[in-house]
C-alpha cells in the first residue's frame, strides 16, 4: 500500500519559488491501476519522481507498506528502487550502446540474479511487449521510438516490482501496440497484484484505470474511474 501524506516539492528559479507538488495526499491499495492526468508542467513527472524516490520532498512523506521514505538513507532508497519500483520514463532512458536484452537484464544484474536466469526472463519480457526476437540483441540506438518504449516497459517489469511508475507509457506507440501495453499493465495489476501509476495525456488510457487523478497547479484531485463506476453501477 502506498500512502502519500501532505507532499510538497518546491524549486527555486531565480527569485521565484515554484511548487509543482503542493500538499498532495492520497492512498493507493496494492494492485491498483491508477492514472494522473494534467497539463504539461503541472507537476505530474515531479510527483512520480517523489513516489519513486528519485527525488526528496521539501516536506511531507511517502510511506510504502508503512515504511517512510523520508528518513531513509541513500543506500536503502537505492535498494527500494531496485526491489520495489519499476520506472518507465517519458524519454525511455535506455543505455544506448547496450542491446535491448542487456538493457532489460540490467536491473536484474543489480539485484544479483544469475546470468542465465536473467537472460531467460529478459527474453520472456521482451516477447510480452511484442518486440521481435531478432531485435532482442539489437542495440537500442538502432531501434525505433516505439520499440525503445517497449524495451523500457520490459525493463520496468524486470524485477517484478510492487509499484510501476510510468510516464506516458504509450506516448510513442501506435494505437494497436498502445492497446496491448494497456492490457499488459492491467493484467499485471490484476494478476500479479502490482500497483501501477500512469501519467498520461491519453484519455482512453486514463479511462481504463481503476482510479483517475488530475493534477492542477500542484493540487491533486481524484476523478472517478469510468470503467470502475460503470462496473459498480446498478443496471
Amino acid at each position: 500500500m502506498i500512502e502519500v501524506k501532505n507532499l510538497v516539492r518546491t524549486f527555486k528559479s531565480g527569485d521565484r519559488t515554484i511548487t509543482p507538488v503542493n500538499d498532495v495526499s492520497f492512498e493507493l491499495e496494492q494492485g491498483t491501476l491508477a492514472s494522473i492526468v494534467g497539463k504539461s508542467g503541472s507537476g505530474k513527472s515531479t510527483l512520480l519522481s517523489l513516489l519513486g524516490a528519485l527525488d526528496k520532498p521539501t516536506s511531507g512523506d511517502v510511506l510504502v507498506n508503512g515504511v517512510s521514505l523520508a528518513g531513509m538513507p541513500d543506500g536503502q532508497l537505492t535498494e527500494y528502487r531496485r526491489r520495489d519500483i519499476g520506472f518507465v520514463f517519458q524519454q525511455f532512458n535506455l543505455i544506448p550502446n547496450l542491446s535491448a536484452l542487456d538493457n532489460v537484464m540490467l536491473p536484474m544484474e543489480f539485484a544479483g540474479i544469475r546470468k542465465a536466469a536473467r537472460q531467460e526472463r529478459a527474453r520472456h519480457l521482451l516477447e510480452q511487449v511484442q518486440l521481435d526476437p531478432d531485435k532482442h540483441v539489437r542495440r537500442i540506438n538502432r531501434l525505433s521510438g516505439g520499440e525503445q518504449q517497449r524495451v523500457a516497459i520490459a525493463r520496468a517489469l524486470a524485477n517484478a516490482p510492487k509499484l510501476i511508475l510510468a510516464d506516458e507509457p504509450t506516448g510513442n506507440l501506435d494505437e494497436q501496440t498502445g492497446e496491448h501495453i494497456i492490457e499488459l499493465l492491467s493484467s499485471l495489476s490484476r494478476n500479479h497484484n502490482t500497483t501501477i501509476l500512469v501519467v498520461t495525456h491519453d484519455r482512453s488510457l486514463a479511462n481504463k484505470t481503476d482510479r483517475r487523478f488530475r493534477l492542477q497547479q500542484g493540487q491533486l484531485t481524484e476523478e472517478a474511474a469510468r470503467s470502475r463506476i460503470a462496473a459498480a453501477s446498478p443496471a
Binding site: 519522481s49 543506500g75 537505492t78 531496485r82 520506472f87 547496450l98 525493463r155
Partner: protein
C-alpha cells in the same frame, strides 16, 4: 553483461576518441616509465661507484711528478704500516712496468737522441709512472699513438734535429702491473672475460692476465705464451677494463713484477680500501700521518669522482622528479578524461541509479573503463619506454656529467700519473676510465621496475576515475535526469 564487459564496451564507444586518449596516455605513461627506468639505472650506477671507488685511497711516493718520476719508492714495510691504520680493510700493493718491444725501443731511442724526449699526448704517465720501470717484451701495444701523438713527436723531433726530414713514429707502451690481489689499480675487481685469475697474487708466477685488445692485437688467447725480459709467460686469463688504454695492459703477480724490475719489495702505489665511506676522510688523515708527508702522498679517488658522482646523483633526482611529474601528468589526463566522460554520461548514471545500481557499481564501472584505457596506454607506453629509456638516460647523463668530467679532467693534469684511473695514459687523467664508467649507465627496463611504474599509473587511474564517478553517483538521480 557483466560490469567488466560493459566497461570494455564503454571504453570503445567512441573509437576515434579512444585512440586519441590512448595515444596521449601512452606518451605520458611512456615518459613516466622511461624516467623510472633511468632513475633506477642511475641509482644502481651511483651505488656501484660508491661501493667500488668511494672507499678507495691511493698512496703514491711523495713528490712524484708525472713521467719525470721523483720521490722514494714505497716499500712492503709501508704497506704493513698502512694496513695497521684504523678503518683500513685491505692494502694492495702494485708495481708498474712499461713494456716495449725491441723495435719500439730502438725507434724511441733514436727519437730521443734527436728530439730530446717525447712529449706525446701528455707523456707516458701511467700508474705509478714515476717509478715505472721500462722492460722489453714480445708484445706489441694495442693502442695507436694516433695523429696527435705523431704530430707532437714530429714537432719535437724537428726542434732537436736540424736537417732531419722524418721522425720515427711514437708508440704507446704496454702497461704491466704487478698486483697483490685480483683488483685493478682503482681497487675494483678485475672483470675476467676468459680464463682464470692468477691464484696467489703474493707469490711469483709465470701466469699473466691480458686486456682483451692487447691479446687480440698480439693474436693471443688463454694458454698462449709471450715474453717479458726474455722470460716466458702464459696467458691465464683475459679481462675487459672497459677502455682502450685499460685493455692495453696486463697484470702479473706483485712479486713477479718486482723481480722483473729488479726491485724486490718496492711498490709503485698502494691501493687502500677503507671499511666505509664515512671513515674515508679520517682514514686518509691517519694514513698520511702514519706514512709521513715526506714519504707518501695519499689521494682519494672519491674526491676526484665526487663532482661526477654528485652529477649522477642530480640526474637521479631529476629523473625521479620527471617520473613523478610524468605520473602526475598521466593522472591528470586520466582525471580530466574521466571528468569529461562522467559529465557526458551524467544522464546514464542517473538512469543506472534510478533502476537500482548502487554507487559502488557505478564507481566500479567507470574505474574499469579507465583501467581499460590505461592498460592500452600502458602497453603502448611500455613499448615507448623500452625504446626511449636508454636514450633519455644517456642524454640526461651526458648533459649533466659533461661539465663535471671536464672540470675533473682539467684538475687531473697536475697529478702524478699513478693516481687511480686505470690506464692513466695520456695526460695522467686522474679519472682515467671513470668518465667512461660514469656514462656507461645501462638503462634496462627490468620487469619489476616496469610493473612498479604501471602499478603506480593504475593507482592514479583508479583515483582519477573513482572521484568524478562517485561524486556524480552521490547526486540524487532526478537532478541528473532533470538536468538533461
Amino acid at each position: 553483461m557483466s560490469v567488466l564487459a560493459r566497461s570494455i564496451g564503454n571504453a570503445f564507444r567512441n573509437k576515434v576518441r579512444t585512440a586519441a586518449v590512448v595515444a596521449v596516455l601512452a606518451v605520458a605513461i611512456g615518459l613516466a616509465l622511461a624516467m623510472l627506468v633511468a632513475n633506477q639505472a642511475v641509482a644502481g650506477k651511483v651505488a656501484e661507484l660508491n661501493a667500488s671507488v668511494g672507499t678507495v685511497l691511493t698512496v703514491n711516493p711523495a713528490g712524484g711528478q708525472g713521467f719525470e718520476g721523483g720521490g722514494e719508492p714505497l716499500t712492503a714495510e709501508q704497506a704493513a704500516t698502512a694496513a695497521a691504520v684504523p678503518n683500513v680493510s685491505t692494502v694492495v700493493g702494485t708495481k708498474a712496468l712499461r713494456l716495449r718491444n725491441a723495435a719500439e725501443v730502438a725507434a724511441q731511442t733514436g727519437t730521443q737522441a734527436g728530439a730530446g724526449g717525447p712529449g706525446g699526448q701528455g707523456g707516458a704517465a701511467g700508474p705509478g709512472s714515476q717509478s715505472a720501470t721500462a722492460v722489453t717484451t714480445s708484445l706489441t701495444a694495442a693502442v695507436d699513438a694516433g695523429t696527435l701523438g705523431n704530430r707532437n713527436q714530429a714537432a719535437t723531433g724537428s726542434t732537436g734535429t736540424s736537417g732531419s726530414s722524418t721522425a720515427p713514429a711514437f708508440s704507446v707502451p704496454v702497461t704491466a702491473t704487478g698486483i697483490g690481489a685480483e683488483v685493478d689499480t682503482t681497487g675494483k675487481a678485475l672483470a675476467l672475460t676468459q680464463g682464470t685469475g692468477l691464484g696467489d697474487y703474493t707469490a711469483a708466477s709465470t701466469g699473466a692476465l691480458l686486456g682483451t685488445t692487447l691479446a687480440e692485437k698480439n693474436g693471443l688467447s688463454v694458454g698462449s705464451t709471450f715474453t717479458i725480459k726474455d722470460q716466458s709467460f702464459t696467458v691465464a686469463g683475459l679481462f675487459d677494463a672497459g677502455t682502450a688504454f685499460g685493455n692495453n695492459a696486463l697484470y702479473l703477480t706483485l712479486p713477479t713484477a718486482q723481480t722483473l724490475a729488479d726491485l724486490p719489495g718496492e711498490l709503485s702505489t698502494m691501493v687502500v680500501t677503507v671499511n666505509s665511506m664515512e671513515n674515508v676522510d679520517a682514514a686518509k688523515t691517519a694514513l698520511q700521518a702514519a706514512l709521513g708527508t715526506d714519504k707518501a702522498d695519499v689521494s682519494q679517488g672519491q674526491r676526484n669522482l665526487q663532482t661526477a658522482v654528485s652529477s649522477l646523483g642530480s640526474v637521479k633526482n631529476i629523473s625521479f622528479i620527471a617520473f613523478v611529474a610524468a605520473l602526475a601528468t598521466a593522472g591528470l589526463i586520466i582525471l580530466l578524461i574521466m571528468v569529461m566522460l562522467v559529465r557526458e554520461r551524467r544522464r546514464e548514471i542517473g538512469v543506472l541509479k534510478a533502476i537500482g545500481a548502487p554507487n559502488r557499481t557505478i564507481g566500479l564501472q567507470f574505474v574499469l573503463e579507465a583501467l581499460v584505457l590505461v592498460a592500452m596506454g600502458s602497453v603502448v607506453g611500455a613499448a615507448v619506454a623500452s625504446f626511449a629509456s636508454g636514450g633519455i638516460a644517456s642524454a640526461l647523463i651526458s648533459s649533466n656529467t659533461a661539465t663535471a668530467a671536464a672540470t675533473t679532467g682539467r684538475r687531473g693534469q697536475g697529478f702524478p700519473g699513478g693516481v687511480p684511473g686505470g690506464a692513466g695514459f695520456p695526460g695522467g687523467n686522474p679519472l682515467g676510465g671513470a668518465n667512461q664508467l660514469l656514462t656507461s649507465v645501462t638503462a634496462s627496463a627490468s620487469p619489476g621496475v616496469i610493473a612498479g611504474g604501471i602499478a603506480a599509473v593504475f593507482g592514479v587511474a583508479i583515483i582519477g576515475a573513482l572521484v568524478p564517478a562517485l561524486l556524480t553517483a552521490r547526486i540524487r538521480p532526478i537532478e541528473v535526469l532533470r538536468g538533461e
